[in-house]
């Protein structure tokens, strides 16, 4: 029933711990692959692979500066996720308000059956 996690959107891409580390590092400032390798102590192909995924979902932007490629965080794609989870109390309050409406319908159905 459970499906494997995909990396087709920002939401799923951040589920991977190493990718969160890279995002966290980029949050402190733009960086090169080599600087990330040094900072995170992870092999360069691994960092490059994760950067590619993060670029595909739009969380990381890249530009060429001379011979260097500079990577930068773009949190925009996560906005939709933030909007969904922010304000935990409000989330449940909205759910319960909708639930009230469902219950009114159920009560009405019950009365009609009686």
């Amino acid at each position: 029933m459970a499906r494997a996690a995909t990396t087709t959107d920002a939401f799923n891409a951040v589920a991977e711990p190493r990718r969160r580390e890279i995002l966290d590092a980029l949050a402190r400032g733009e960086s090169t692959v080599n600087a990330l390798v040094e900072q995170l102590q992870v092999a360069q192909p691994v960092v490059s692979k994760h950067l590619r995924v993060l670029r595909e979902v739009g969380l990381v932007q890249v530009r060429d500066e001379g011979r260097q490629r500079i990577y930068r965080l773009d949190p925009g794609p996560l906005r939709a996720v933030f909007d969904w989870v922010k304000d935990y109390e409000r989330l449940w309050a909205e759910r319960f308000d909708l639930l009230d409406e469902v219950l009114e319908d159920l009560k009405r159905e019950n009365q009609e059956q009686e």
């Binding site: 959107d9 939401f11 799923n12 589920a15 995002l23 939709a80 935990y88 469902v102 159920l106």
Partner: protein, 159 residues
Amino acid sequence: MSKKMQVSTPTDTTILITRDFDAPRHLVYRTFTEPELLRRWWHANRAEVTAVEMDVRVGGRYRYAARGAGFEMEFTGEYREVVPDERLVSTEVFSGAPDYPALNTTTFTEKDGRTYLELLIEHSSKTSRDMQLASGMEDGLADALVLLEGVARELAHLT
């Protein structure tokens, strides 16, 4: 009688949500255990529910999937206790944080034709619980990343 919802933190790792409903508990129970009913309220006006599957019996599994603007997510778990009209205990795993399951206990108590609902969410740590409770994010990048961490780790506990 008030329908006011209350959210409290009974221990360092738990969240307790309570709410009254103007309906008998067998109806409230149905809204938690019948897919067509659950999908009418679970979205909270924030996302589109794309799938609700549930096999409500001890050891049975459930899956809720939702799609927001540019993202998809999934909540899955297993029922640990099923007492019809009274109590549901289930694990919950959020697709964004598969290593951080939660345990949810939902209790339905009826009095004078009304239902008092308790939803107890048990987290693995105080930090993760506190992240979940953090509300309204500012636009700053630092805040975004704090939330990112919270999303990825502990959103498993949203339902």
